[in-house]
Symmetry: C2
Subunit: 303 residues, 2 copies
Amino acid sequence: MSRETRIYGAVEAGGTKFVCAIGDETGRILAQTRFPTADPAATLEKMCAFLREASRSFGALTAIGAASFGPVVLDRAAVHYGSIGRTPKPGWRNTDIVGILAREFPCPIGFDTDVNAAAVAEQRWGAARDVGDLVYLTVGTGIGGGVVVRGAPLHGLMHPEIGHILPRRHALDAGFDGICPFHRDCLEGLASGPAIVARSGAELQHLDAGHRQWELEADYLGQLCAQLVLTLSPQRIVMGGGVMTQLRLLPLIHRRMLHWLGGYIERREILEEIDRFVVAPALGAQAGVLGALSLAIDASPGV
Amino acid sequence: MSRETRIYGAVEAGGTKFVCAIGDETGRILAQTRFPTADPAATLEKMCAFLREASRSFGALTAIGAASFGPVVLDRAAVHYGSIGRTPKPGWRNTDIVGILAREFPCPIGFDTDVNAAAVAEQRWGAARDVGDLVYLTVGTGIGGGVVVRGAPLHGLMHPEIGHILPRRHALDAGFDGICPFHRDCLEGLASGPAIVARSGAELQHLDAGHRQWELEADYLGQLCAQLVLTLSPQRIVMGGGVMTQLRLLPLIHRRMLHWLGGYIERREILEEIDRFVVAPALGAQAGVLGALSLAIDASPGV
């Protein structure tokens, strides 16, 4: 089969919706469907039905990529490789996504976290095409981070869980407890979409520019970016998710990131070109499904 | 030349002393010297003299590895590749270590931070031989961290600068300002050897087990380990340096690390086997020079 005729299945398994697609090596989507995430059996049958039907229309799939909400088991030697791990989502714990796909589709299957996949997609087709080391952050219902090192997603012991780092509390935020069920006032507990609503009574876009919430949000996310520079040393940070659709947040984050770094990282990319260092995604809402497509391409033979 | 006859030069360029050695692929040191770090010209001439003499005794060097105090320039495309960058050490800024070696020795030269090199050595010969992803921390005059991902040191934009992350302040430590000239109360400013002396008037080993300093130190370093798990997802953390020679610190760090993670990372390696997850180095004071040797081996052809 020539490279031109290769087609791939892509599954973005999100906590609220699934997006399934067929695509090619250039990132072109040939067919796509989405449906709400219900119970695992019904949801995964819909996923398989779409891929089954697509195989009939487009021909056998070269590979499938699945990008899942987490935590997920990425260790290929583990019994539960390819599963969702301990999730608070009712019924989904230990759901074997790769196993269910492999039972029906005789092709390689790529699997990773939704955020690692989005990072891979932004690197392949999006806002980080010119670098090999990047972080993709999503700030929305939760806060998550995917990491690519030398062109491949970072796993290590498990996978990064960047949303749960502990930022230093802002002096004006002492009255807010935070909403993370594990840590209370970790980053997700202080700066996710629901945290904003819990603290300020409204989503960010409904609060005027002078509202303290903007300052707090920029401070916590700027601190996050600074910590990531010091630990992961990325060449770019791509910030997506519902909260980040408020684009005027980005320059505020830049300022606070520089504040927290205190001039220590003396690099032109940070000191002079920070608006090209911490950026909005180029793939927008398609980052997830294109991430899954990317995992499929990377899992296929000869790539 | 057969693999057996390969010999390598190793240079640990530390802020207070240089260690130069000749070694082989098994990590055996055949000759070694050390001298204080004085002005760059005299110090680097001593380094070259040792390697020159060793080449006469042992035969031509297959490669040389240099592991340097930082910040260093690791980007091979950069004008100053192979140099020490902006260091507060008088006279050493922009010192071109790789250039000086390359001018005299016609062999490949490996170059990295001292802590990245120590991480590589602990992975090759030490406490992390069974994993591919690890962090090596040194807690002494400063706090530094080296990172290995999939068997190779992490660079990205520059290299990690883990010592400067911002821990949450301990409630019992509000009266101490911290001593980092850049950030005041970053980790290095709160938990390095000099910070301990500045706060408590003595080095850790001279303070009895009930002294508050032990609790503070364990809390800050436990918090550091927790943050690293959430961002870098290592399979092991190796903790060396002068402060960590106080081995009873390690179980205290384990406890605080678990506290800060709040049960979120549900992995056996952390919840049940933390004494094998955060460990002392196996190479002790030789980690630096063995790191340099490791860089030499990795830089040599056919490896």
